[in-house]
C-alpha cells in the first residue's frame, strides 16, 4: 500500500514489509538488561508524593533550617537530604 506513494528516494521503503494478518510477525522486542547495578534503587526505598504543597513547604522551611543549623555542630555533617526518602506520607483521606 505504501509502495506506490511518492518519495524523495525510491529506495527508502525497499526494506518495508507490510504486516500480513494471516502470518503474524514472530518478532519480540529485545528486553533491556542492565549490565551494572549502579542505578538500582535502595531496597527499602518508598517513593511517596509530597504531602505538603509548595506554600506549606515554604512555611516549614525556616523552622527546618533552624533545626538543621542547630544539629550541625552536634552531629556529623550529614549529606544534603535526597529528594526521595522513605517517609510516611500523611494520608489525605484520614482525619
Amino acid at each position: 500500500m505504501l509502495g506506490s506513494w511518492p518519495s524523495f528516494d525510491p529506495h527508502n521503503f525497499s526494506q518495508f514489509k507490510p504486516n500480513d494478518p494471516a502470518n503474524p510477525s514472530k518478532m519480540t522486542p529485545v528486553t533491556y538488561r542492565p549490565t551494572h547495578d549502579r542505578t538500582l534503587p535502595p531496597p527499602d526505598q518508598v517513593i511517596a508524593p509530597e504531602a505538603k504543597n509548595i506554600l506549606l513547604r515554604h512555611f516549614y522551611q525556616p523552622a527546618e533550617e533552624k533545626l538543621r543549623s542547630k544539629r550541625a555542630p552536634c552531629d556529623n555533617p550529614s549529606p544534603e537530604r535526597a529528594s526521595k526518602l522513605p517517609r510516611p506520607s500523611a494520608s489525605d483521606n484520614s482525619i
Partner: protein, 531 residues
C-alpha cells in the same frame, strides 16, 4: 494554540491538532473569545427574589425569597430556536426568549428560617462532590451582650445561628447545626470555610474554631474544636486534674460536661487557652533561638516578647481558612477589629497551625515582607480548592497570569508607601471561601476589564452609569462585550447611591446583572446571553 480568530477555523483546527500537555482547559477556554454574552435582555419580569449566586458547577441558581425565610433554587437552562426562513438574521427572537422562566426553571422552594430568624442572604457554600449546599439563618444581633460563660468582652451575641445542610438536587434539609448565644461572621461566608468535606466555623465570641465534616450520607459530624483545647483529649486531662485538686471541697458543684459550663470550675483567666499557649511559646522560642549569647538573648526577649506580652495574650482569632486538610491559616487581631468592617487600621497577625500536631508552624505580622512574597508567588495555594472542584483550579490570579501580575506590580509601584501596600494586600487574607467566580470571562489572558468596576470576586460594588467593557486581550482595542448595570434608558435619579452585583454562570455565556439602591426599591435585573 489557534492560528485564527474565526470560530469555524478554530473548530477545524481543534479536530486535527491536540493542545500542548497540560493546556487542554486553557485551549478550550479560547472559544470563550468567540462566544460572549453580547445580547442583553432587560425589562424582565422576574419573581421577587434575592439572587445569591450560581453554584460553581453551574447546575443551580441559588436565590432567597424577599422575606429572607425561603430558599428558592432554579436550574439554569438554555433556549433553543431554529429558523428556516431566508432572512434569519433579521428575524426577532420569539417573545419567550425574553422571559425569566425560559432561562431558569424553578426546582423547589424550601423554608429554612423559622419565625424570628432570617436567612443570611450573603451566605452560601457549595460542596460540589455531593451537590450539598450550606446555608445560614440567624436571629437578630445583640450588641452589648455580657461576657458570660467564657465569652470575650466586646463581641456581640446572636441568640441562635443555624447552619443548614441542604441537598440541592431535591431541596431536602439533611442536617443542621445550631450555635446559641454565639457570634459567627456570616456576611460573605467570612466566618466559615469549606475545604473538601471539612468545614471550619469560627466562633468569635468563644474564640473557638469548630471543625466539622460533611459525610456522604449528609450528616454533619464534629471533628474537633480548637481554641481552648488543641487535642481532643485535652479537656479530659484538665478536668481530671482539677477534680483531683478540688477533692477536699467536694460540696461545691462540679459539672463535668461538654460546653462552656465547666469553665466555671477554674477561676477566670487562670489558664490561657490552648491555642494561645501554642502561639506564645512559638513566639518565645523564635526569639530565644535568634541569639546565642545569654545576655543578648534576655535583652531580646525583654524587648520583643515581655514588653508586648499582654498584647500577644490579648490577641483574638478573627478569621480562618484551610491551607490543606491539616493546616489552618489563622488571622489574629485585637478585639475591636474582630467585628469592624474596615480592619486596615488594626494590627493583625497571621499564624499557620497544624491541626494534627497542634503546632504553630509560622507567625507573621500583617506587614511582613516574607508573607507578602509568598502571597505574590503562590496566591493560588491560598485559594485552596479541593481536588473535587475542577473549575476552581483555573482561577486567574497574579500567581498564574502575567497580566494580573503586571497589574499588581503596577499598583505596587504606584503605591505611596510599600509597607502600606503590603498591609493592604495581606488584609485580603485569609480569603473568603468560594468568593471567586470560575467564569472564563474573568480570565485575564482572554479579556481585559476594569478591576474596580467588576471582577471575579463576589461582592457588591458601587454602580456606575458607564458600561463595563470586556476587551479582548489578544486583539487589543476590540471590544467583545459590555455590561450596562442600570436601566437601559439610563438612571432617572443620579443622586441615590446604587450598588450592582453580577452573577456569571461558570460555563454558559450567561450572566445576570442586578442593580439596587439601598432602599427597598425593586432591583433592575438584566440577563446577558449569547444569541
Amino acid at each position: 494554540m489557534f492560528r485564527s480568530n474565526n470560530v469555524t477555523a478554530r473548530i477545524f483546527e481543534r479536530q486535527i491538532s491536540s493542545p500542548a500537555p497540560g493546556t487542554s482547559v486553557h485551549c478550550a477556554r479560547r472559544f470563550y473569545e468567540n462566544i460572549v454574552p453580547c445580547h442583553t435582555i432587560f425589562d424582565i419580569e422576574c419573581p421577587d427574589i434575592l439572587f445569591r449566586k450560581f453554584s460553581d458547577d453551574g447546575q443551580y441558581l441559588i436565590t432567597f425569597s424577599r422575606n429572607h425565610q425561603d430558599l428558592v433554587v432554579y436550574r439554569p437552562t438554555w433556549l433553543s430556536y431554529s429558523c428556516r426562513e431566508q432572512d434569519c438574521p433579521d428575524h426577532d427572537l420569539p417573545s419567550k426568549a425574553n422571559k425569566f422562566e425560559s432561562f431558569f426553571t424553578q426546582l423547589y422552594s424550601v423554608t429554612l428560617a423559622c419565625s424570628g430568624e432570617l436567612i443570611c442572604k450573603d451566605f452560601f457554600l457549595y460542596s460540589e462532590k455531593n451537590q450539598f449546599g450550606i446555608f445560614a439563618s440567624s436571629t437578630a444581633q445583640i450588641h452589648d451582650a455580657p461576657a458570660v460563660g467564657g465569652a470575650i468582652q466586646g463581641i456581640p451575641s446572636i441568640e441562635k445561628i443555624t447552619f443548614h445542610l441542604v441537598r440541592l438536587e431535591d431541596g431536602v434539609i439533611l442536617d443542621e447545626r445550631v450555635f446559641c448565644n454565639d457570634y459567627i461572621n456570616l456576611a460573605h461566608s467570612m466566618g466559615v470555610f469549606l475545604y473538601d468535606d471539612l468545614v471550619a466555623i469560627v466562633s468569635l465570641r468563644y474564640q473557638r474554631i469548630h471543625i466539622l465534616q460533611i459525610r456522604d450520607s449528609g450528616n454533619l459530624v464534629d471533628v474537633r474544636s480548637i481554641g481552648e483545647y488543641c487535642r481532643e483529649d485535652d479537656e479530659l486531662f484538665l478536668n481530671s486534674s482539677t477534680q483531683c485538686m478540688s477533692i477536699p471541697g467536694r460540696n461545691r458543684n462540679h459539672n463535668v460536661g461538654n460546653g462552656p459550663d465547666h469553665t466555671n470550675q477554674m477561676p477566670e483567666g487562670s489558664f490561657l487557652s490552648g491555642l494561645k499557649q501554642r502561639l506564645l511559646s512559638f513566639i518565645f522560642r523564635g526569639i530565644w533561638n535568634e541569639e546565642d549569647d545569654p545576655t543578648m538573648r534576655m535583652q531580646c526577649l525583654k524587648k520583643k516578647f515581655y514588653f508586648h506580652f499582654q498584647d500577644y495574650a490579648d490577641l483574638v482569632i478573627w478569621k480562618v481558612q484551610f491551607l490543606d486538610r491539616h493546616h489552618l491559616l489563622i488571622k489574629f487581631g485585637s478585639v475591636d477589629g474582630g467585628v469592624a468592617r474596615n480592619t486596615d487600621n488594626h494590627p493583625a497577625f497571621f499564624a499557620v497551625y497544624n491541626m494534627e500536631t497542634t503546632e504553630i508552624i509560622s507567625f507573621y505580622q500583617n506587614s511582613a515582607d516574607e508573607l507578602y512574597t509568598l502571597f505574590e508567588l503562590f496566591c493560588d495555594h491560598f485559594h485552596s480548592s479541593s481536588k473535587n472542584s475542577f473549575y476552581m483550579n483555573f482561577l486567574s490570579t497574579h500567581s498564574n497570569n502575567i497580566h494580573a501580575l503586571e497589574q499588581l506590580r503596577c499598583n505596587k509601584n504606584k503605591a505611596s508607601s510599600l509597607p502600606q501596600f503590603v498591609k493592604k494586600m495581606l488584609s485580603t487574607l485569609p480569603f473568603n471561601c468560594q468568593s471567586q467566580s470560575p467564569s472564563p470571562y474573568f480570565d485575564h489572558s482572554l479579556f481585559r476589564y476594569d478591576d474596580k468596576l467588576i471582577s471575579a470576586t463576589d461582592r457588591h460594588r458601587q454602580s456606575t452609569d458607564h458600561p463595563i467593557k470586556f476587551i479582548s486581550r489578544r486583539q487589543p482595542n476590540i471590544l467583545k462585550f459590555k455590561i450596562k448595570p442600570g436601566p437601559e434608558s439610563g438612571n432617572a435619579d443620579t443622586r441615590t447611591k446604587k450598588i450592582s452585583s453580577f452573577l456569571f454562570h461558570p460555563i454558559l455565556p450567561l450572566a445576570i446583572s442586578v442593580q439596587q439602591t439601598l432602599f427597598l426599591q425593586p432591583a433592575v435585573m438584566k440577563i446577558l446571553k449569547r444569541i
